[in-house]
Symmetry: C2
């Protein structure tokens, strides 16, 4: 088949111009006589790529100078494992606000090296909402407060992350970074696996206020030290350089398209279109998340009869709409609508859903 | 310029057929309607790629079934940080045999979580040789003994890694894996960043005897647990899937070319050609490593007059020979001769060196 509308939650759809640039440089990059896959990360050619990617990301997200940007590998989960080692004293409390699967994961990764506490959770309600601020039980001595800005599996998103007082707020923005304007200064740290909104799989971004890098943390290997990593321009060892390059191409594409303000408008329209189709289906399709907490990025939905799931997926693929199967935790369907998903893709999906309902209704 | 002979130490030259396949699938992979960069790591299409890469690597290196193969990210340095957490009890001794820069790095990464001891070192001699077995002072209670099979910067290679008794031998094979036949059963674990002999940057391989995965190790985040990673087919979280794919293409290419026995012959010829040119230059060029420990993969060499270095590099690039600048630790030159470097490339280098000597002699 030719290129489809790809609703994968991540690794996810990339802009075609980005893929074409990556393709064009696969054998030769500039004047190097080599692919960018084959050149030293410490040479001038790659350093220029790496620094431009950081500069463009700073522009895209309005990252102030008092925040470091670290490009790393191992995914968001590895960042979650390293947060207490870098930012908590041994045994110190760390508060986790849990609104879905990934918030629980973040807590589990921290637990061996911190007194990781569930400050609030919406699990009793099946993660169909965020836990309201008045229910949060914050520790007075917490090293930080952790939230998950958008829950990729449960489709639950904070529309406005509450203030937390003195402890720095650390947020997993893996599946919603760069989807709308973001006030970085509200956070001590923000991190995101790139494979949803920032570009390719295999690279992760950590944006961290520099004063937090001065914390002593806990005994850890030098490679796990974020202060050293920031000082070394994320090159304590060989970084995933090709992935960094493609991230840079993707960030540049977002700037060229109009930046996060423009993507906020597109993403709002895309999400509104799909939720309206679900809500207007008379119960044929349903989304169970509280309206105010519905994710603009990941829309889980269920057919009224799960026996139709296989036909839905198969006919959708025939129609050029792929990767709609829901996560195994929830079942059903899920449509991920990251920045690279065009509005025409969402229109094609809702058209297909209406047609499917007519045919199989 | 067109594609050059690229002597980069890593990220390093890749086989052109591998790059062409990666290029051809950049927009569409098989029947998926998407790039392999854009598809789920948990879908059937990527799982087939991942499992084939493992199967081919097992064939290439004759890896027995009682060894797990883990594909990970973070480079060899991250493996070095995780070795004590997985394989040593808190405070347990771990012996390091140090024959260059990377052996020292391995020890430093382990030091916060183990009683990491220098069992032997050739640093006093400027890392121009391996420390002979009779000088090793092994601890009776060591969790493991660590060696660096090939030192990428100093150009020092073990031709035959000595037996160590009961403690498992763990070896960093980053820059020489798959360069010749290897008896995996001699080792408790072998690891290698892929960006030298196994393919692209951004993915690392750990081959580990399964009984070592039963060790309790030390408190660590779930994502850092190698037993769990092995049980999850290296997919506790999103792996660097595209890099894994290109690694698979590279391993397949090595099998198609005749496997490690064939590369052993080619690599021996390439190294012999270059060392003969250096040794036969009447002192114009020199390599300082003890003959028996000279690396077949990385050949550092010096011009008799460092004032000629800039001209050498510039004229080499004009001749289509790139990335010959030595590591900043040593200065001078370095030619890396991994599997993807054709014999014609080494011939072109020695021809250039003779011509340069004539012109600038």
């Amino acid at each position: 088949m030719s290129r489809a509308y790809n609703f994968s939650p991540g690794p996810a759809m990339l802009p075609e111009p980005v893929l074409r640039q990556a393709q064009a440089t696969m054998l030769e990059f500039g004047d190097t006589g080599a692919s960018i896959l084959e050149i030293s990360h410490r040479g001038a050619d790659f350093l220029a790529v790496a620094r431009q990617a950081e500069a463009d990301l700073r522009t895209l997200l309005s990252i102030p100078d008092d925040y470091a940007v670290i490009f790393t590998s191992g995914g968001a989960t590895t960042v979650q494992a390293l947060l207490p080692l870098n930012f908590a004293a041994p045994g110190q409390a760390a508060d986790y606000v849990v609104s879905g699967h990934w918030g629980k994961t973040a807590l589990k990764q921290a637990a061996p090296c911190a007194d990781a506490r569930t400050a609030a959770s919406s699990e009793d309600g099946g993660f169909r909402d965020v836990p309201p601020r008045e229910q949060w039980r914050l520790s007075p001595d917490a090293a930080y407060v952790h939230v998950t800005a958008n829950e990729t599996i449960h489709g639950v998103e904070w529309r406005d992350i509450p203030e937390v007082g003195n402890a720095p707020l650390i947020a997993d923005f893996s599946s919603s970074i760069a989807s709308e304007p973001l006030d970085v200064t509200k956070f001590g740290a923000i991190y995101a696996g790139a494979q949803k909104n920032l570009g390719p799989v295999g690279i992760t971004v950590l944006i961290v206020r520099r004063d937090l890098l001065e914390r002593e943390g806990q005994p850890r290997a030098p490679i796990f030290d974020y202060r050293a990593q920031a000082n070394a321009e994320s090159m304590l060892n060989t970084p995933p350089s090709w992935n960094w390059y493609v991230l840079g191409l993707t960030v540049k594409w977002m700037l060229d398209e109009g930046g996060v303000a423009e993507f906020a408008r597109r993403n709002a329209r895309k999400a509104a279109l799909l939720y309206a189709a679900i809500d207007g289906s008379g119960g044929y399709y349903r989304n169970e998340v509280a309206t105010a907490a519905r994710s603009r990025m990941n829309v889980p939905f269920f057919l009224h009869d799960p026996a139709l799931d296989a036909a839905f997926l198969s006919e959708a693929k025939q129609a050029g709409l792929v990767a709609l199967k829901g996560h195994r935790v929830l079942g059903g369907m899920r449509a991920s609508l990251y920045n690279a998903m065009p509005e025409a893709g969402v229109q094609a999906l809702v058209d297909f859903m209406r047609e499917f309902q007519k045919t199989h209704g």
